[in-house]
Symmetry: C2
Subunit: 223 residues, 2 copies
Amino acid sequence: MNFTSTEENYIKQIYHLQQEKERVNTNSLAAEMKTRPASVTDMLKKLKNKKLLQYERYRGFKLTEPGKKIALGIVRKHRLWEFFLANKLGFEWDKVHVIAEELEHVSSDELISRLDLFLGNPSFDPHGDPIPDRNGKIPQVKQLNLLSLPLSQQATVSSVTNQTGEMLDMLKHYGIGLGTVLRIIKRFDFDGSLEIRVAKQPPCIITEQVAKNVFVHYAKNTT
Amino acid sequence: MNFTSTEENYIKQIYHLQQEKERVNTNSLAAEMKTRPASVTDMLKKLKNKKLLQYERYRGFKLTEPGKKIALGIVRKHRLWEFFLANKLGFEWDKVHVIAEELEHVSSDELISRLDLFLGNPSFDPHGDPIPDRNGKIPQVKQLNLLSLPLSQQATVSSVTNQTGEMLDMLKHYGIGLGTVLRIIKRFDFDGSLEIRVAKQPPCIITEQVAKNVFVHYAKNTT
DNA sequence: AATTAAATTTAGACAAATCTAAAAATAAAT
DNA sequence: ATTTATTTTTAGATTTGTCTAAATTTAATT
Ligand SMILES: [Mn+2]
Ligand SMILES: [Mn+2]
Ligand SMILES: [Mn+2]
Ligand SMILES: [Mn+2]
């Protein structure tokens, strides 16, 4: 079956909201879609008709299995295009999302499989988010918030949740990007800020606000 | 100003029809757009309102200068994406058009200028059609129909007008592609077919029907 | 010049996606 | 257990792009 861009955007957003809350409600979806609850209700009926949504009025809703499959396909396209934009065209990570928001709706399956191959079957997008494979399987990495990283445990930056230009600016200043290796030297309980060593640079201090948006991972048996 | 995909498709198609006939008429545009004349009339009014079209009812129409600028921008995007699909993702030329038909509507200007750079600022798409530059300037090559090529004049294949899979199949069989060097050995007046030598292969015979879709160019002072 | 044919436009309707305003259902507070 | 507040849905309107059928204009024939 074929879906409109609008339907796809709704499906994808429902999927993202489901990741946080088992069941999604009308108002929060309306907020995310920057539209009115009444419009959301209309779309919910349509998606229910197409068997993509479990939905009873006033009771909240969530994607069916077919619906989730569709959602994962769109997420896959979105993140592959983001990877392309960042790694082939040289866009900064804070610019890729808006453009991928359009590219994700281009409908050719062969386009995506060729793009995937061309990019070298990447597993993570420029924000560190996992790219589902053609079957919808998502690579799982046990991530850890930088705030919870044990003292002096060396770790690699794997994703950043705040993907704005301001955050990008800040991290660039510190020399932090995806794949950057760092460790915590000292924790200041006064305001929660951290003294960290980024790669081989001299130590620096970052605020709790920055740290809570940075996720890292590390192998269990590495110092 | 911003235009819908539908508006862009109309504008582009009007541009293409104008290349053949100074003034375009409703029925031929309807045929190209696979829609009804009544729908075309509706769109003509809208484009006239937006100052993109010179149009008086029953009198035919053509793009204004601003309209032509828009059209060239869309043609540029379409052909750059076709180039990308063919030369980076490895699509055959008969598959790229349909996909580019969607990609051409992705709206970011920076995307196109970066894509252009990434592709090496190509001048021709996979069908040999010229790619307008960012100012809408089209590289002019004096092309010649293969039927009009003087006997034994060596020439290079520069474009093919019939861009179907069947034609691609046929040309592949003859070893003909864009950039292929060939010359005519003999002209058969009986049915208009041509004996040609493709590159260094043994001579072969192609029908008038094939030849009339193939365009070539050659330097004036080359044998 | 009058008639016939072809091309084009208008009138009115419809589907998709949106909105506002009002009604209905559910949840929270007294 | 009522009342009040919040959430959600319905009703009805709007915009975009499409359609069919009928009316109008232009072109072609007699
Ligand atoms: Mn989108
Ligand atoms: Mn992303
Ligand atoms: Mn198109
Ligand atoms: Mn082309």
